[in-house]
């Protein structure tokens, strides 16, 4: 393998006369902690790491996405926009990225364009300089408000296309969608993501060149997860076949469900003959902090995974499967799970094999459960399914089976209009409701409600959080104690005395 990959890199070098440089996007503070710590890393914990990431010289950092907004607001009581501000202050030279989930924001249904635009604006105002936009239906129209607003602000944009292991999702479809994004919006890069980590190696060898040739001189980015243990191979093959930029996570917050380890990738990319400008020593120092932080917080580190073909067989895995199991249990039909899973497979194909990303797993599972429960397939149709078929979520990349579409439209609620109604702007009403709120506050109140916004706590700063300075840790920990503390510590000739009260 090494010799073959090296030969390909050497041939490219001979052809072009220059070594290709692979750029790095750090995804530790977004995807790494999302996959390993359920997104529970606090802002102040990120700051010392951020400084080292900048010192290491990575090209860009994926700072925040909707999941980070949710965890920050709902569980950590921290302001996600403040996180962006602080990250920008701690890494002033590094491009900060924010991810935008098409026109869905954090919900189940599409939202008005003006709230998506406000979301982009506030991320930009607080430090994001590039936006990665993603739509699970590969519908570029759903991305238009976000892309256009970002470009108007002077930010760079990448459109993320996600791998879908379904027959209709050919290399040509992906190349066409990538070409559209470049031609229609002039995006700066196309990203290709394999969130399930199941993109076959031989598919990379055809897909990457097809997409690359469709986007001209724009950069092609690549990210995956290492659930099968072969994620690092995917990255290396992708780079050899034309990918310019890869998203990695710093070891030890890498591997397993997370992206590949940046240090490993840098070593092996250089070994293959690519240029990679990054200081591995600094990454290792960041890794040391993350390791100590994980120990302090009782959080796991990334562990390389053992290859498991079940990941390729069952497309309905992980959190979605756990939810489904719970719902069936609540309905008293837990024993029919295998039947439901089979039906999910059929319904998915009939509905155009959408990418199994929120909200589509739930929509398909809802219909599958109805089909199993009622015997006659599509006799009972949930509202979301009818809306999906009617294009409420946007045009579908692969058409719905026409017979199924007829049944869905005929048997679904007649209250649902056959043509999706236009969505009214929401920002004017927000401004009227909160006349004294700034735009950050407006956005967060709209997304999470007044109670959550008003419950936000202060965010610590780097000087208050350390896993490498024991004295700082000690004093900081004592400071967090609710009851008065009086303590003395001696170490050799040094002593620390604390009098709280």
């Amino acid at each position: 393998m090494l010799d073959q990959l090296r030969a390909q890199v050497a041939a490219e070098f001979a052809r072009t006369g220059k070594r290709r440089r692979i750029k790095l996007i750090d995804d530790t503070l977004r995807d790494g902690q999302q996959c390993l710590w359920a997104t529970r890393m606090r802002t102040e914990q990120m700051l010392p790491v951020a400084q080292l990431i900048e010192a290491a010289g990575v090209d860009s950092i994926m700072a925040i996405a909707l999941v980070q907004y949710d965890a920050s607001m709902l569980f950590l009581n921290q302001n996600p926009l403040e996180r962006l501000r602080l990250l920008a202050r701690h890494m002033p030279k590094t491009e900060l990225r924010a991810a935008v989930r098409g026109n869905l924001m954090r919900g189940f249904f599409p939202v008005a364009d003006d709230i998506t635009e406000l979301f982009v604006e506030r991320n930009f105002a607080n430090g994001a300089r590039r936006f990665t936009l993603f739509d699970a239906l590969l519908n570029n129209e759903n991305l238009a408000p976000g892309i256009n607003r970002a470009k108007a602000l002077g930010a760079k944009t990448s459109v993320m296309l996600v791998f879908n292991d379904a027959p209709a999702y050919t290399d040509e479809i992906y190349a066409e969608k990538a070409r559209e994004a470049v031609e229609d919006f002039g995006v700066d890069a196309i990203a290709f993501g394999d969130s399930a980590g199941v993109l076959p190696i031989d598919r990379i060898r055809t897909l990457v060149p097809a997409m690359k040739s469709a986007i001209g001189d724009r950069e092609l980015e690549f990210t995956t997860h290492c659930m099968t243990g072969l994620g690092p191979v995917q990255y290396l093959e992708a780079a050899v076949h034309g990918v310019d930029v890869i998203y990695c996570s710093i070891d030890p917050m890498a591997n397993g469900p997370a992206p590949a380890a940046m240090q490993d990738m840098v070593r092996d990319l250089r070994y293959l003959g690519f240029e990679v400008d990054v200081d591995i020593d600094k990454l290792d120092k960041a890794g040391d902090i993350l390791r100590a932080m994980a120990e302090q917080e009782g959080q796991p580190l990334g562990e390389p995974a053992e290859y498991d073909p079940a990941l390729f067989v069952n497309r309905y895995a992980g959190g979605a499967l756990a939810n489904l199991r719970m719902q069936l249990q609540a309905a008293g039909i837990a024993d029919r799970l295998p039947e439901v899973l089979d039906e999910i497979g059929r319904v998915r194909v009939e509905l155009g094999s959408p990418i199994m990303a929120t909200p589509y797993p739930a929509i398909i599972a809802g219909q599958a459960v109805m089909n199993v429960l009622h015997g006659e397939r599509y006799r009972v149709v949930p509202d979301e399914v009818k809306k999906y078929v009617l294009g409420y979520f946007g045009a579908l990349p692969i058409p719905v089976d026409p017979d199924v579409a007829d049944k869905v439209i005929g048997n679904g609620s007649q209250k649902i209009a056959l043509t999706p109604p236009p969505m009214e702007p929401v920002v004017p009403a927000l401004r009227a409701r909160y006349p004294y709120a700034d735009d950050d506050e407006l956005l967060l109140r709209q997304m999470y409600g007044d109670e959550k916004f008003e419950g936000l706590g202060p965010t610590g700063t780097a000087t208050e959080f350390s896993v490498t300075h024991p004295i700082v840790d000690l004093v900081s920990a004592l400071g967090r104690n609710r009851s008065p503390v009086r303590a003395s510590f001696w170490l050799g000739d040094s002593s620390v005395r604390v009098n709280g009260g």
Partner: protein, 474 residues
């Protein structure tokens, strides 16, 4: 597809550095027997050396296991270059090998895996014939060709091994560099060369491809596969048996494998208990890296080299180590990266990360340069050879000579001496104490003692129990 469980040999050597004793193996025997695998590899050259080093009779391991699991087919692995470096037994000659086979058979072995770490079958073919003549099932090791070889050359290679007329041939990928794609390309020409001789596979997990390659082997209809219980699988070891069975079921291709998943899980749990009791880290997958494709170190040697790099704070130089391994291997004539050459190459490469190249020369490298175990496939570096000095290649000992030199030693001791490098008179003998974790107090005491580095002063009291530990020799 025949499954051989190599937990007690390659598995524990790669994962626990050979710490599992014969008595522990016997303790595992009933559980392993219930898994219904086709055979269990109970000993090998490194395991016999480990036994002798800890003062145990290396034959007793086999006898004891066979008694505890009487209906299990036991396999032993014999390398014709034992690699202990003692003068005069660099290579196991044909009649010593035959005597070894007899001893192994009388201890309970039914299958034997025969390896000549240097290319060709001239030395292994007579051993295969001897094994078959005494009724043993003879499996001949075919090391994985490391570079892409044309189909015609593969057919010729395989037919050369077929000419030795073994019962089976095992394609052996100790460096774990095989991929599913490459295996698929190799099979047809290898089968063409082997004719009707069954083809087995032994692969490792250094690159994380191991479990996928094992499944591909099943899908392609290979005839046999080496696997291990999960606590000693993955990493530098072979793929895990339990995961393999589960994956076969997932893919719907498991009908031709007899092993029982529930019993495998039970045996794995039992082995995990042992690991926990002794504070041994269980086998885990390693992250994929390109280094194995260059260094080609076998799993156990790779595990030791990685540990040495980590200890020296040089983990980041893994690719430098890989390049050094490749360069040293070239310098010594390009032998297959199997024991004993691989260990010597790794040791020398580690030196080169700390000191000038060949500032010192490891003993194994000297012996390789001098080609005492046989002619290398390529030329050795003349400058290095001049430094160490050429020697006449020793002639392998014969049993007649050994009996004459050690008139009071039994044949079992003479052959064990050749394999382990220990003088016959100094070989440990007799039965070992059965392994037992007697009482909760004993288990607690042993567990705490094993973890002594983790605390300075510890006292445990309970009704009837009072244990005090203090580090520092008290």
């Amino acid at each position: 597809m025949r499954i051989t469980d190599v937990s007690l040999t390659d598995g524990q050597s790669a994962t626990w550095g050979g710490a599992m004793t014969g008595s522990m193996s016997t303790w595992m025997a009933p559980h392993m027997a219930r898994t219904a695998v086709d055979s269990i590899e109970i000993t090998s050259v490194p395991v016999m050396q480990q036994d002798v080093a800890r003062g145990h009779d290396p034959w007793e391991r086999i006898r004891s296991f066979a008694e505890a699991a009487p209906n299990t087919r036991l396999r032993a692995s014999l390398s014709l270059i034992p690699g202990h470096g003692e003068h005069g037994c660099d290579v196991i000659g044909p009649d010593v090998a035959e005597a070894w086979l007899e001893q192994a058979k009388s201890a309970g072995i039914l299958e034997v895996l025969i390896t000549d770490p240097l290319p060709g079958t001239d030395r292994s073919a007579p051993v295969v014939a001897a094994a078959k003549a005494m009724g043993l099932h003879a499996i001949l090791v075919l090391p994985l060709p490391e570079v892409q070889v044309e189909d015609a050359a593969l057919i010729a290679l395989a037919s050369g091994f077929a000419n030795a007329a073994p019962d089976r041939v095992q394609l052996r990928d100790e460096a774990g560099v095989l991929t599913d794609e490459r295996l698929a390309r190799l099979i047809a020409p290898l089968r063409a060369g082997l004719g009707c001789i069954p083809l087995d596979l032994h692969t490792r997990c250094q690159t994380s491809y191991g479990p996928l390659v094992a499944l591909e082997a099943a899908r392609l209809g290979l005839d046999g596969l080496d696997l291990a219980l999960a606590p000693v699988a993955n990493g530098g070891s072979v793929p895990a048996l339990g995961r393999f069975l589960k994956s076969l079921a997932t893919l719907g291709i498991g009908d031709h494998v007899a092993a029982d998943f529930t019993s495998v899980t039970d045996a794995s749990n039992r082995l995990a208990e042992l690991a926990d009791f002794h504070d041994w880290e269980i086998g885990r997958p390693w992250a994929f890296g390109l280094a194995p494709y260059r260094h080609n170190l076998p799993g156990d040697v790779a595990a030791q080299a990685m540990a040495a790099l980590t200890k020296a704070g040089l983990s980041r130089r893994i690719n430098d180590l890989a390049e050094e391994c490749a360069a040293i291997r070239r310098d010594i004539g390009g032998p297959p990266m199997l024991a004993p050459f691989a260990g010597a190459v790794a040791a020398q490469a580690l030196r080169h990360l700390h000191e000038a190249r060949y500032a010192t020369i490891a003993r194994g490298i000297r012996l390789a340069l001098q080609q005492v175990a046989g002619e290398m496939p390529g030329p050795v570096d003349s400058g290095l050879l001049a430094r160490v000095g050429a020697v006449r290649r020793p002639v392998p000992s014969t049993m007649t000579e050994l009996r004459k030199t050690h008139p009071n030693a039994a044949d079992a001791d003479l052959v064990a001496s050749q394999i382990t490098g220990c003088l016959p008179a100094a070989l440990p003998k007799g039965r070992f104490e059965p392994y037992a974790q007697d009482s909760p107090e004993d288990a607690l005491a042993a567990g705490l003692a094993a973890r002594a580095a983790g605390f300075a002063d510890l006292r445990v009291t309970a009704p009837g129990v009072d244990l005090a530990f203090r580090t520092g020799g008290e």
